[in-house]
Amino acid sequence: MATSATIPQTARPHGRAPFLSRIFSGDSLAQALAFSCATLILALTALLVWELWAHSAVAREKFGFRFLTSTEWNPVTGDFGALPFIYGTVVTSALALLIAVPFGVGAAIFLAELAPPKLSDGMTFLIELLAAVPSVIIGLIGILLLVPLLLTVVPPIKDSFGNHPPFFFSGPFYGPSILAAGVVLAVMIAPFIISVSREVLLAVPKDLREAALALGATRWETTWDVVVPYARRGIMGSIFLALARALGETMAVTMVIGNSPRIVASLLASGNSMASVIASEFSEAIGDVYPSALIELALVLFALTIVLNGAARLLILATGEKGASQ
């Protein structure tokens, strides 16, 4: 192979080129580059976890498992527990999904299946624009528009229950609340659900629709019984993307949630979320334990995101037999 350097690569595709020319041939280079990009992402994630783990050492040693179950959050005595924030994050995100999923999937079905293409394209553009609005602006709209609106709408609803409203609608209502945070989050995540679900629905093969219609199904039966089940995995995917955004949302939530770390089993009560308390308190957290507790909170949020994402994958796998593609 002494002359190999002078032989063009294309002349012997199966031979082993010397190291340097192998490196500089396009394929290997592209592969190496792509591989290092992929590993870099993994390495960054690993570094992130390690950093959170290392910097939360003080809090982990001091509180142990109690950190997850304690409702105490006292910066003065240095006693910290994550439960009120876990509660706030989970409940606001769940509420957001409860509102945004029916709306979002409904809107996606309309845009993909029922709306005239021109209208659909225009509306999709506007909806994607909504997804790009910075969260601090959504938060401002929440304070200036949503909270006053809730203050006029909620009391009559509450009164209609009489003296014994259901537990989730009990207690005084001042505006900033779990409810307000859930609604704001729903507004923020709905565009994700709509735009991804619409793409997925549009990708369903035409043959399926034509076959269903040919068998005498109505347009709605075709949509609901054939197209949507086919696209189910993709729609689920969009919902979990939305959930991930809801769990991590900081600014818009902190502006309308009321920022009080208490667990009150009512949507009208104020609360606080993990991302919100980290953003609020980190810059003023002095000492060893306080910042460490906030970092441990970040670790818990990270773990929660992974657990929920894992659960989502399992759910998709479990329901995956019927849905075919994404």
């Binding site: 005595t77 505006g175 502006m255 920022n259 770390p261 003023e284």
Partner: protein, 339 residues
Amino acid sequence: MRQARNVLVGMAMVALGAIGQTLINGGGATFPYPMYSKWFSDYSKKTGVTINYQSKGSGFGVQQITAGTVDFGASDMPMTDMQIKEFQEKRGMGILHFPTVLGADVPTYNVPGVTAALNFTPDALAGIFLGHITKWNDPELVKANPGVNLPKNDIVVVHRAEGSGTTFIWVDYLAKVSKEWETKVGRGASVQWPVGLGGQGNEGVAGQVKQTSNSIGYVELIYAIQNHMTYGKVKNVSGEFIEASLASVTAAAAGAAKAMPEDFRVSITNAPGTGAYPISSFTWVLVPEKISDPAKKKIITDFLAWMLKDGQTMTSALSYAPLPKEVVAKETKAIAKIK
């Protein structure tokens, strides 16, 4: 285009720095930031010295000066003994506190039908924020406000959501006037509030109070003045109901100046003296005892001397209360402690 220009200006500044221009970096409290930024800009015009200031909160100031990443810190609360010990262990020297201007917290409220400035006794404020006084027509409030028709409504408490020097001044006052507050809640930039909702920043608290009927919160005096808010009077040690103003805040500092400790770490909430507004506080810059770079040392000491002389004349224009004369005199001497 503009961005490109900014980048160019930035590069030019970096280049200048490399040539020998000494750059001073500071950071901390947000409350005095408008004053500091005016001072630094005027001082820069006068002497050509550039002082950078990151307004990220008092806790940031203490953290960064302890870590040694800034040349001076700034804080609305004096460093605690433990923080000073930590500073000594990390940096191998002491830290000096220099009061710069004065601030105050005022109670702001939204009670339907009430337009007059309400009077608050220390017991009323502590009771409300502890959750013991829950109605606006509580006897403690009615007694202090003769002739005002206070409604029977529930009080909604609003506090700061994030850690803040403003909160420290407020809870420091409550801890001084209420034993229960001191033992149950204590002092800090953020505390475990017995009741209430949290708003982000002065504007968050003010907005929340404006939006919620029957609510009460606290904001920085300057914020209240600039936004033409009505705020309550607070009863001081001499038994007068005092409205917060530049004069009544300086009076509080003057009352405390006689007993000013050598290190200037003093709380002037609930200060004695007639005319003194009781929820007032100094704000400090934090300077390490030893500055090894002689150029930096000269700039910082020169600036402090200028701030105490010319700087103090600019405070009122920005609604900050100037330091009392006694404090200025004492501080001017203390500059020599920087080695």
